[in-house]
């Protein structure tokens, strides 16, 4: 009887809460423009919440604009200084004119990752479509900046200075591939980190119910992993932003 119960329960738990279910994009308000389905989905809802939340946060954080900052203002200033220093350190003062874009990007990814940590919410950064769209736009923008600043010299990116000419047939394809693979690595890194973390949490949380009293063990693990996931959510937003800075640095200063 008991042996039969466990697989039955197992099936029912994962039937009720399949680990991939949380990534499903569900339409809330069906919209169609020119035959293309652009429905307002749970993903779109979370994006809007992220923007609204970020807007409200910065609105209240900077409401007083006091010389001695309060708690919220300190956090907002910390984020500002964090990104400003990141650009200064990785790109230099020439990169400061791109500060608003990088700051927006960081806030968007950071708030998206963090909102995804809420139970029953949706992580729009766990979708390759979103991360790839961001990465491709970044890649194209950076490449345009590179060519605008250096003209045809920007092709020098694919052949390091001082390398013997004989190595060109080998070096150029390698450099070209490494350059072109940037949007892939940038998008897959964020998407994979977010997806895997959430699947892991879901599966382990399923075990808590399955294992009954012994479920305290996976429960403790889930607790630990939740902390880890918050850390990863912040870290991946940072990594996404700093890689953008590094690509921007290559475009502005070349290597």
């Amino acid at each position: 009887m008991a042996e039969e119960l466990v697989p039955a329960l197992e099936e029912s738990v994962f039937d009720l809460h399949p680990p991939m279910h949380q990534f499903e994009v569900r339409s809330i308000v069906p919209i169609e423009i020119g035959g293309v389905d652009v429905s307002f989905t749970n993903s779109a809802l979370l994006m809007c919440i992220a923007v609204g939340l970020a807007g409200l946060f910065f609105w209240f954080a900077t409401a007083h604009r006091s010389v001695v900052p309060g708690r919220l203002q300190s956090v907002a200033e910390l984020m500002y200084e964090f990104i400003a220093n990141m650009i200064r350190d990785n790109v230099g003062t020439a990169g400061m004119k791109y500060f608003p874009y990088i700051f927006t990007l960081f806030v968007f990814v950071f708030v998206g990752n963090m909102l995804g940590m809420l139970p029953y919410s949706f992580t729009f950064t766990s979708h390759i479509a979103v991360t790839a769209a961001l990465a491709v736009v970044i890649f194209i923008t950076v490449t345009i900046i590179g060519f605008a600043r250096h003209g045809t010299h920007y092709f020098g990116m694919f052949f390091p200075h001082g390398a013997p000419l004989l190595t060109a047939p080998l070096l150029i394809p390698i450099e070209l591939i490494s350059y072109l693979s940037r949007p892939f690595s940038l998008s897959v890194r964020l998407f994979a980190n977010m997806t895997v973390g959430h699947i892991m949490l879901k599966v382990l949380a399923g075990f808590v119910i399955l294992m009954g009293v012994a479920g305290v063990v996976p429960f403790a693990v889930v607790l630990g992993i939740t902390v880890l996931e918050f850390f990863i959510a912040a870290l991946q937003a940072y990594v996404f932003t700093i890689l953008t800075c590094i690509y921007l640095n290559d475009a502005i200063n070349m290597h």
Binding site: M20, F23, E24, V25, S27, I31, I33, V36, D37, V38, S39, F40, T41, S43, A44, M47, C48, A50, V51, A54, G55, F58, W59, T62, R65, S66, V67, P69, Q73, A76, E77, Y80, E81, F99, P100, Y101, F103, T104, L105, V107, F108, F124, S126, H127, I128, A129, V130, A133, L134, F191, T195
Partner: protein, 161 residues
């Protein structure tokens, strides 16, 4: 995996574009100018305070220098005055000393003169006393009354020995 279902891609792209552009405007119109303003103001305040502190420090140093100069001057002046007073006192003391010495010397001299005069006077009386004593002695012992002139000659003669 729902992530690889292309049917949701257009909607995701569409809303991503709208929301991130919206966020960009929220950041550039509101958050970034406000934060930049606050940070700039704080930096300005800090710079102003530092400048003020620098100014006050310079003033303090100037005051210390002035104080030290005044102190040195006062010290020099005091030294000079002490020297002048000491010299004057020494002069006065010397003068007084000289006066006293002179007075004492005069007194000594006067005394010596008086002593010499007294001695001479005493010495000039010795002969008379001797004559008188000799006369009286002879009268008492022998019962003779001698002529003063003779006794005087005898005394003079014996005093010469």
């Amino acid at each position: 995996m729902p992530q690889f279902d292309p049917s949701s891609f257009p909607s995701q792209f569409f809303w991503l574009a709208i929301t991130i552009v919206a966020l960009y405007f929220v950041m550039t119109r509101m958050a970034i100018p406000r934060l930049a303003n606050v940070l700039e103001q704080r930096q300005k305040l800090i710079d102003d305070d530092l400048e003020q502190a620098e100014k006050l420090k310079a003033e303090t140093e100037a005051a210390i220098a002035a104080y030290e100069a005044a102190l040195a001057e006062a010290r020099a002046k005091a030294h000079e005055e002490i020297k002048a007073v000491t010299e004057a006192a020494a002069k006065v003391a010397e003068a007084k000393n000289a006066e006293v010495i002179e007075r004492v010397a005069k007194q000594i001299k006067d005394g010596e003169n008086r002593i010499a005069k007294s001695r001479d006077e005493a010495l000039s009386h010795v002969r008379e006393v001797a004559v008188s004593v000799a006369t009286d002695m002879v009268t008492k012992l022998v019962g003779l009354s001698l002529d003063d002139a003779k006794v005087g000659d005898a005394v003079t003669a014996s005093m010469k020995d």
